[in-house]
Amino acid sequence: MEIGPILRAMWRNKIGAALIAVQIAVTLAVVVNASSIINGRIEKISRPIGIDVDNIFSLHTVGLAQEFNKEEFVRADIQAIGNIPGVRSVSPILNHMQSGSARMSSYRVMPEVNDDMEILANVNYSDENALATMDIELLAGRFFHADEIRHITPDFVGEPDKVVITESLGRKLFPEGEIVGRTIYYSDGAQTITIIGVIADVATAWIATDRPILADTYYDFMLQPYVEYNTRVSYIIRAEEGALASIIPEVERVLLEREPDRLIYSVYTQREILARSYASDRATVIILVTVTILMALITALGIVGLASFSVSQRTRQIGIRRALGARKRDILRYFFVENLLLTTVGIILGGVFTVMLSYLLTTQFGGDRLDPVYYPTGVIFLYLLGLIAVFAPARRAAAIPAAVATRTV
C-alpha cells in the first residue's frame, strides 16, 4: 500500500489536514454526546402514560350565575355529556391528567409523624367511572362505588377513608405482601385511609420534571372518591375510537345548551397536554438534532474542500501517475485511503474530546451520564461521512487524463 507517500503528501499540507482532523474530532464528540442525550429524552417522552391518550380530552368549566347548586350543576353536566353519541365515558376530575398542575400529598404506613417515612403521591379526584373513562386496568381489590363519591368544596378538610392507588405506589408503601386492605396515614395520622384497590400504573402530573425530589415517582398516583367544584370544575372525556375530533365541539355545544351562563376553557386533548408537558424535552431533542446534522454537514463540506484543493494542487502529479500506468481506481483508492487516515486521526482525538465534553456536560451542566454505546456508532457515522464527502473530488481526480502531465512539460 502507498501509505508512506500518502502520509508524506499530507504532511506537506499539515495545517489543512489538521484542521479537518480537529473538525472530525469535535463533530464526533458532539455527535456521541448529543445522541446519548437525545436518546435519553426520547426514552423519557415515550414512557407509557397508562391511560388511553389517543381518545381522551379534558376541559374546565365555570358557571356564571350568582347562586346555583354546584353539585347539581356537575351531575347535570356529566349526564348531558354522557348522552352524546360518540362519548364512551365521562368523569369529573380535579386536575387535567399529566398537565403539571397537581395535588401532591405525602402518606405514611404508620400513624406516628415521621418525616423520613413520608411517601409522595400525585392525588387526583374522580368518580366511579374513572377507570372506564381513562382506560385503566384494575389489578386487585375493587374500585369506588357510586355511593362512595363525595362532592366537596375547596374548604373541605380531611382525607377519604378509601383510596385506590397504582401498583408502583403500592409497592413503595408496602414492598411485600398484599396491598389491598392495608392502611395508610396522612398528616397528623388521626385518620386511617384504606387502600381498597390497586390499578395499573398511571403517570403522575409531573411527568416532565427533573427535580431530584420527584425522581422515581413517575407512577406514584392515587385516586380519591371526590368531586370538587373549586373556582371551576373539570371533566375528562373518552371518545369512541376515532370520534375525538368530532365530539369536542359537540360536547361544548351540549354544555352551553344545558347552561348558557357559563365559560368553557382549557379544552385540550390528552395528546396536546402531553405535548405541552414535554415541550421542553422535545425542543431539546429537535435543537440538538438540527445542530448535530448541521455540524456533520459543515465537517463534510470541509472534507470536500480539502480534497478538492488537493486535487487541484496535484493535477499534474495525478496526470503523471496516470501516464506511468496507474489505473483510475488506484487514484480513487489514494484519496479514500487518505481520507480514512485523516478520519482515524480525528477519531482518536475525538475520543478524548468526547470524554471531555461528557465530563463537562455531566458535572457542570447536570446532563445525563454518557452511554458508551454511542461512541462506536459515532465512529462508523464519521467514517461513512468522510467517504461520502471525499467521493466526488476523488472521482474528479481519477478522471484527470494522463495527457495533462505531458502537455505542460
Binding site: V26, T231, A283, G305
Partner: protein, 437 residues
Amino acid sequence: MFAYHFRLAWLSVKKTPVLSSLIVCAIGLGIGVCISILTVFALMTSDPAPEISAQVYTYKLQNQEILPGGSDGDEPSNMVGYRDVINLQAFDLPIRQSIHYQSAAVIYPEGSGQTPFTDEVRLANAGFFSLHRVPFRYGGHWSAEEEARGLYQTVLTRDLNEKLFGGNNSVGEKVRIGSRLFDVVGVLDEFKPTPLYFELDGGAFREMTGAILPFALTKELELRKRNGSTICSGDPEGEGWLNYLEADCQWIHHWVEITDAQGEQAYRDHLDNYAEAQRQRGRFLGPYNNEVHSLKSWLVDQRVVDQDYRILLAVAFLFLLVCLLNCIGLLLAKFLGRAGEMSLRRAVGGSRKMIFRQHLVEISLIGLLGGLVGLLLAMLGLVAIRSLYQNFELLTHLNIELALLAVLLAMASTVLAGIYPAWRICRLPIALHLKAQ
C-alpha cells in the same frame, strides 16, 4: 489606501463566488446558531430589575417539619403562610415590603356582546407597586391607608385594560371581578420583568395579565392561589376560608427592600427571632434554618435557567468552532489559489505588510457578510425556538446589543480564522510561483 484594499477585496470575493459564499455561509450558520441560542440564554439569565436587584430580598422561612423528604437536596418552600406574613411584616427595617399572591377569577366586561372570561388576578399590597417599581400608564396604585380601609379598588394590567377598555384611560371606571365591583385606580404600563422573579412558582417566563386587587381584601374575597404552588404541612383546624388562612399552608410571596448595609443579617435575625418565638408557642417544632436571598441568589437558588439550555449553549459554541475551523481551511484554499497573482505583486514591489493588510481587509469583509447572514439566520432560529417551547415569547427577541454582538463576533472570529491563511500567503516563496507560470 483602505478604499483601494476594500475594492480589491470586493473584486476577490466576486472572483471566487462559490468559495466566498461557502465561507460566508459557514460563518453565518455558526453565528446564527450561536446567537439564537445565546439570545434565549442571555434573556434567561438577565437581571429582571437592575434598578433594585442589589437591595431587594426574599427568604425561606424554613420549618423542617413542613417538608416531606426535604433532606434530599430539594429546595424548601419559598413562600410564607398568611398568619406568618402578617406577623413578619411588622418590622420597620425594610423601606418597602411587597406581599402578593396570584389567583384567577372571572372578569365581566361591561359592554354588550363581550363574554366574560377568566383571567389572572393578583392580590398585592401597596408596597408591591413601589418595591417592584411597577410602571403606570394611567393613574396609580392604592395607598397603604386606602388598602387598610378595605376599599374595592383595582389596578389593571395593560393587557386587561386593552381587552376591557380598548387601551383608553379607564381610571374611575368600574370592573366586575368575580361577584364584586371594583374601582379602577390605575393601569399599568408595559411591565415584563424577565424572569418574573417575584412569582417564579407560576413559571419564570410569563407576562403578568389580568387585574391586581388589594391584599387587604384576602380575607373577604376568598380567592385561593392559582397558577402556582401551595404547600400545606397539616390540615386546617376546621372548614372554611378563615381556618385555611390560619393553617400551616404556605403560598404568599414576600419581598423586602433593605438599603441598610447590615440589612441582610438583620433581616435574618428577625426571621430567626420569629421562628424561635413561634417554637415557644408550639409551632415550628423542627430545627429551623432560615435563608435570606437577594434577587440574584434567588434566581440561582430557584434554578431559573433550564439545565438543557446550558448544554445547548455549549453545543452551539462547539458548532461555531467547527464552522471557524472550516473557514480556515476554505480561506487557505481561497488565498493559495492566487499564489501566482500575489507573487507577481510582491515581485513588482508590493510589501508583505501590504499584502497582509489587503487580506485582512478581505477577511473582515467576509466576516461582515457572514455576520449579516448570521443575523438573518439568528432571527429565523429564534422564530423556530419560539414555536418549539411553551411560553418563550419573552425570551426570543433579538435585541440591539445581541445583534451587534452577532456582527462583531462574526468579524472577530473570521479575522482570527483568517490570520493564518493571510500569513501563509505573505510567506510564499515567490520565485517558485513565478517560475511555474
